[in-house]
């Protein structure tokens, strides 16, 4: 197992490298001079020259690239152009809010999605199934930020049950603030995870060993949970991994809707302010989380299904 994890770890290095390269190319070689972006279109030539010198923009590209790689690997993200504080401080402040939102949304999504999916599968083509399929169809179509805006308008603006902006301080207040954003993401997770649980379970229930179990007289709950759900776990865990990533990317828009601090907000604000060090760091952090989640997923698969370790 340790060997397997080690190999996977090595395997993710090229991915990280590619991400760094992409970010570098995207922000430096594509049109748009950061000096002009920061100092404005009418900046004096002297100040532009000083800026370029200060941030090493006059160095040859390969040198800039090496310096960039070194900075990224050592988490030396520099200072924000617009806020003047170290980028790392901004990330340390915002990241916990995003993680908190992702975890709460995933927990609600799993707790709601799997039972609903099983319920729909057991009652295939009956009322619960048709109802759930309609729900998941809407859940697939509705954009996260629209659902968030709807909940915000109904429950915060009109009914006044929840705060409209911010994330609050102290545990109770934070939980109060997180209800609507987390529910927004969780409803979409329930649609996705539930649909996946339903199809995986239905697929397993059609297998021969399930027929055998029924034939030898096993009770229905035992057939469903012991023989069915256990074997549906593998495809389901793949979906859960993907779900973490889609919740993470969904958090970007949701943070904007509910005016919450978070990594997505930080990144989007930086893009509109052309705050290059923050954009760079934000994307690198997001990408690293994606790589880590993918790695964890692979390890979890290997734990669930020992056959994978051998390959």
């Amino acid at each position: 197992m340790a060997r397997y994890i080690f190999v996977r770890l090595l395997d993710s290095i090229p991915t990280i490298f590619l991400v760094f390269t992409l970010v570098f190319i995207a922000l430096r070689i594509l049109p748009g001079d950061p000096a002009i972006a920061v100092l404005g279109d009418y900046a004096r030539p002297e100040s532009i020259a000083r800026f370029r010198e200060q941030f090493g923009l006059n160095d040859p590209l390969w040198l800039q690239f090496l310096k960039f790689l070194k900075d990224m690997v050592t988490l030396n993200f520099g200072n924000s152009f617009t806020k003047g504080v170290p980028v790392m401080d901004l990330i340390k402040y915002n990241l916990p809010y995003t993680i908190e939102l992702t975890i709460v949304a995933m927990l609600i999504g799993i707790a709601g999605g799997i039972p609903l999916g099983v319920w729909a599968a057991i009652n295939r083509n009956k009322a619960p199934d048709v109802g759930f399929r309609t729900f998941s169809l809407i859940g697939y179509a509705i954009p996260d930020f629209y659902l968030g805006a709807l909940l915000l308008i109904i429950f915060a603006l009109n009914l006044g049950l929840f705060p409209i902006t911010g994330a609050g301080s102290g545990f109770a207040e934070r939980m109060h603030h997180i209800v609507l954003p987390a529910t927004t993401l969780a409803l979409l997770k329930i649609a996705f995870i539930g649909r996946l649980a339903r199809t995986s379970l239905l697929e397993v229930l059609g297998k021969d060993f399930v027929r055998t179990a029924r034939a030898k007289g096993a009770r229905e709950p035992r057939v469903i949970y012991r023989h069915g759900l256990r074997n549906a776990l593998m495809p389901l865990s793949t979906g859960l991994g993907l779900s973490v990533l889609s919740t993470l990317s969904g958090s970007v828009a949701v943070e904007l809707v509910f005016n919450r601090p978070g990594l997505g907000r930080l990144l989007i604000d930086a893009i509109s302010e052309r705050d290059y060090p923050v954009i760079q760091a934000g994307i690198i952090i997001f990408a690293s989380i994606v790589v880590v989640v993918n790695l964890l997923m692979e390890v979890v698969y290997a734990l669930i299904d020992p056959r994978i370790r051998v390959k």
């Binding site: 995207a26 169809l137 179509a141 990317s249 970007v252 904007l256 990144l267 997001f286 994606v290």
Partner: protein, 290 residues
């Protein structure tokens, strides 16, 4: 009659009929197609249908509630919400349809070449696909949008890049399996030249899954365009798109919520209709799933 004439030529499957039948002759599919056609008509004839100029500001009627003049009210600049929705359908739908088509062409070509020729091309393409596929489309889109900025063609580029790896992966996988089919082996044995085999035998037979994917991802592209515009890195005001109508509406929600409610409803209905068409096609081609 010579012996050669009697050899049974391996038959290629026919997909087109199955797809058309499934979409037009199931109730859900027919309703979804009607909805899409309706929205297409609205987008195409926007200048004739829209009651007002979508960019005309009227400071005398800011944040008006729905009335006989402004059916869905006005926004914080006094612009007619209905007209902005109608014009917004143009940006949302055209970008949503164009980008997956471009992505299918580029990704499909890469995938077919990688799958058919194998070797070093295949290894490079697969590696890049795997890396890009590890990222959620939105994050990939944000990265490119951060560098390019917003605007119509930039959004098209962003979405095309975001969807290309997926098409490449599916095209490669189906090419690999089609390559082993008897009719392709027969063509190779008969000495048909490689470009001809690819165009006449591979492409038509991988087109069914690609078309299904194209449909499903048109829905994703419309949603992604809306998300980017909502985040402020997609379609830029004063041009209207359903996403940026919601963005502007959110900052004005204390005064009126009509822009948010209606624009979001439009996105949801269109995305749902396209997903239904895609699902129906997929079920028809692959009856085992579901």
């Amino acid at each position: 009659m010579s012996a050669v004439d009697q050899v049974r030529v391996p038959q290629e499957p026919k997909f087109a009929g199955t797809i058309v039948k499934s979409v037009f002759f199931t109730p859900a599919g027919a309703i979804a197609v009607t909805v899409i056609l309706l929205f297409a008509v609205i987008a195409i004839f926007a200048p004739w249908i829209a009651p007002h100029d979508p960019r005309a500001q009227s400071f005398l009627s800011v944040n008006a509630q729905p009335s006989s003049t402004y059916w869905l009210g006005t926004d914080q600049f006094g612009r007619d919400v209905l007209s902005r929705l109608i014009y917004g359908s143009r940006n949302s739908l055209i970008i949503g349809f164009l980008s997956p088509v471009f992505a299918a062409l580029i990704g499909g070509t890469l995938g077919v070449l990688a799958g058919y020729f194998g070797g070093i091309i295949d290894r490079v393409v697969t590696r890049i696909i795997d890396m890009l596929m590890a990222f959620p489309e939105l994050l990939l889109a944000i990265l490119i949008a951060a560098a390019l900025g917003g605007g119509f063609w930039n959004v098209v580029i962003v979405l095309t890049v975001a969807f290309t790896p997926g098409f490449a992966r599916v095209a490669r996988a189906t090419t690999l399996s089609v390559k082993e089919e008897p009719y392709v082996e027969a063509a190779i044995a008969a000495g048909v030249r490689t470009p001809m085999i690819i165009v006449r035998h591979i492409v038509p037979n991988i087109s069914a899954p690609i078309v299904v994917l194209l449909t499903l991802w048109t829905a994703s592209a419309i949603r992604l365009e809306a998300t980017l515009s909502f985040l402020g890195i997609g379609t830029q005001p004063p041009a209207a798109s359903w996403g940026n109508i919601i963005r502007e509406g959110l900052s004005n929600m204390f005064a009126t919520s009509w822009p948010i409610l209606t624009a979001g409803l439009a996105i949801t209905i269109v995305v749902m209709a396209i997903s239904i068409i895609g699902d129906t096609m997929r079920d028809a081609l692959d009856p085992e799933i579901n």
